[in-house]
Symmetry: C2
Subunit: 491 residues, 2 copies
């Protein structure tokens, strides 16, 4: 496949699609709307999973696994949930195929029709709360802090790799608590965990905030979100954490005996992030040369490319590099020595640039003489010559520096793209010409939100946690408002 | 739930079901044939996954992810595969529900009927080889060594927790090679990886062998298996590795240009183990008191139960145990201090026995005076008093000893239950009275195998890799045979 990428400035959307394919992250499958996550892409997802899983466990959660298929009737039990999720979904109606007559191949066996249709989970609140009824009797059984890593399916009409696919991978936390306060605290805590993960590992700054009623999860009383900003000025909802009140406990009749011996309904949260984060990662840092990966999530952190004139020189280089490789591995740094003779160094340079390897080491004949190497940073595309003495230590420092630099750059971009506006004219102008988040006063009504969305395609991304009290008037209706919220066009 | 377990000698099957429920490993869900894997059970599965994943990566494999749903027509492409897998399966026929009239709730929207039905993957050869066609062009693209961790579904009529469920979790390796020899070597190598995992981590000895034609995977030319023996004398197929020849490459038109510039079809393997291993683990070691877990797979390796007369004494005990806890954690040993005041020590003893925690530490007033603790081994149910001096080191040694002891015990049981028989009368008698593996001569025909199965319910579990050449006659037909194979009743 050609390494040529469409430039971001030419067509951002095309650039993204090409990059995901050319960097070998994922591709469309033969099944409508479903993707294949290729090994290089999956390796990044595995790193995300490992870090998140650790953070979940450190905050007291345990993993479990619940069924893929959910009876149709479960969805009907929670009124707002069914509207949000049970409509566009994959429906299992039969459990057997048979050989058709006249060589027509295998066909559905009409005798094997299910009495009740089963839905491939779009999210698991219903099946999980159906279990929790059996697990929770007393306050001693609470809190129940459970997470599931799973595949889910939502029958999307327009799909894009990672960003919106019919099937995607995610984790979904589902917790049960004795009090409203504790559930609310949990929902906010997990929003914090997501924000920390996004910043520390993805080097992706996020705004923590609360969703407006229109944008809440179907069945939630509050939805807390982390919102990231992509390079094209569009926002991306990177993770959400929901305070579900007692909605699911009531729908599935989950009660506990409190310390005073009285029965009460349980309080709930749910929270999730998905392979959508892969799309966010790509769109936060990458450039016209290809992927740029933060070192903490890069499957290969350092690649060594020998530049040699003879097999013998290649052998010398490999021998010279072995101690460095061992030193790096001892520090937990993943390193690849690409000694393939089937590809030229220049081809390899382009390949690892495309794949976003944070640091490239080139070593040739002159380096052998001078006891040096050439280090190239993927984030800045700068090169420097370094002595081989103490190189592993220098590389360790450099990787940290790259990780930090990516976050600083992304933060700067984000700061540059939060614009305060005080009129609807300005709102539309900024949205069209600059993009990014627009901090504007809003009157708090769904009606206004809806109208702004219809006129501009911008939605309220969140009411930021740190929004300051400020007297103002709604940018659309002119009604009074006490704080600014963030609008943006979004993925 | 009562801790009382049915005895194995009374009703092995009932004992198993009760144990899985009472030890909190898994339970049935509200969806027919599908289980919920509870946190304690899932924690064991996670440990299995982590070790296997490391072994796969150490042998050069990478993870990837392919779609859950497979178009019906894909199955028809490989003739024997469709017979084996496409029949009893979950069929997705529609992609939307709608509100019914007259308050009948949500119903299937007949307008949203799929043109071609989609099958929930029972195994992924077809969808994966459909991708491999795009990934493989040249010998340089080979070998392709990929593994997937996934859920799969087979519509089983009679289900049992872990052993046979409609949905289960597994890993499936799918590799592509340039030569027959290399593919065969890979298939055998993965059989070896599985055997090593079973013995080293599960403390479960297995027989490595080859399946007879009747018992092969649908679409395979050879199936290599690891067969374990449960305490009731029944065999359990714990993992299989298949040499698929060029069957799938031909069905999905996957060719490569070899070094000589000629096009050839690719050679394939696939291999898998599943949550069935959880059932095998339970049935290999557990006893009438509950679960017995090998330390290497135990979510909690050591539990500390304080025996106290006052809150103050409890505090003293906790304080005393903190350095030990830190020492154990530093050694990578997972330890839980159960200081709950809501449950009595005796209740806790029974609880951790039921849950198979390998080592229990009890510490009370007299121990405080004497600077001792009481150590109780779950495998032998023996107790010993130990000084608190250097305790972490002793525990580390003891855990190794327990791990080894479990393997030795299971090996002994297996050796005691491989019986050579030379007549069909003896075959039937041993099968009924003693169970286990029966090493008998077989004439090599499917016909004889089928007849023996119909008469005795015993099947050929495998032709062991280490079967010795030995002149003999088939136990059923009297025809000549050159080696013994292993028969058994099986899960």
């Amino acid at each position: 496949m050609s390494k040529h990428l469409t430039k971001r400035s030419e067509d951002y959307s095309k650039w993204y699609n090409e990059l995901v394919l050319k960097a070998d992250l994922a591709e469309s499958s033969g099944v409508r709307g479903m993707m294949v996550i290729k090994p290089y892409g999956y390796a990044i997802w595995e790193k995300m999973q490992a870090e998140l899983d650790k953070m979940f466990k450190d905050t007291g959660h345990q993993n479990a696994y619940f069924p893929l298929l959910i009876p149709k009737s479960y969805f009907s039990k929670e009124a707002s949930h069914v509207d949000g999720f049970a409509k566009e979904c994959a429906v299992v109606t039969h459990y057997r195929l048979k050989n058709g007559e006249d060589g027509e191949g295998i066909i559905v066996d009409e005798k094997a029709k299910l009495e009740e249709e089963l839905i491939i989970r779009p999210t698991s609140e219903t099946i999980i709360w159906d279990s929790y009824r059996k697990w929770i009797q007393s306050y001693r059984d609470l809190p129940l802090l459970i997470n599931q890593w799973a595949n889910v399916m939502r029958w999307e009409m327009r799909t894009r790799l990672f960003l919106r696919t019919a099937e995607f991978l995610w984790q979904e936390g589902h917790t049960a608590h004795a009090t409203k306060e504790e559930a609310m605290e949990e929902a906010k805590k997990m929003q914090g965990v997501y924000a920390t993960f996004a910043e520390e590992f993805m080097a992706m700054p996020v705004v923590k905030g609360e969703k407006s009623e229109n944008e809440r999860f179907a069945g939630a009383l509050n939805t807390f979100t982390i919102e990231a900003l992509m390079q094209d000025g569009k926002a991306l909802q990177a993770g959400t954490s929901h305070f579900l009140g007692q909605n699911f406990a009531k729908a599935f009749d989950v009660k506990f005996v409190n310390k005073e011996g009285k029965q009460e309904h349980v309080w709930a949260t749910s929270w999730g992030v998905s392979t959508r984060l892969m799309g966010a990662l790509v769109m936060t840092h990458s450039d016209d040369h290809g992927l740029v990966l933060p070192p903490k999530l890069a499957p290969i952190q350092v690649v060594i490319v020998p530049i040699y004139k003879s097999e013998k020189q290649l052998d010398t280089i490999i021998e010279k590099m072995n101690p460095l490789i061992n030193d790096l591995k001892a520090k937990g740094i993943s390193v690849k020595l690409d000694h393939r003779t089937t590809h030229k160094p220049g081809w390899k340079f382009a390949e690892y640039e495309l794949k976003g390897v944070p640091l490239r080491i080139a070593i040739g004949g002159r380096d052998l003489e001078n006891n040096t190497v050439e280090l190239a940073r993927r984030d800045t595309l700068t090169k420097q010559t370094e002595s081989q003495e103490g190189l592993a230590g220098k590389i360790e420092v450099l990787l940290d520096e790259i990780q930090n630099n990516l976050l600083i750059k992304a933060k700067q971009f984000r700061e540059d793209h939060i614009t305060k506006v005080d009129s609807f004219e300005e709102f539309k102008e900024v949205l069209e010409k600059k993009g990014g988040f627009i901090a504007a006063h809003w009157d708090g009504t769904s009606e206004t939100e809806e109208k702004i969305k219809n006129l501009t395609k911008a939605t309220i991304r969140c009411i930021p946690n740190d929004a300051k009290d400020e007297e103002g008037v709604c940018v659309y209706s002119g009604a009074k408002s006490s704080k600014r919220v963030l609008f943006a066009k979004a993925y």
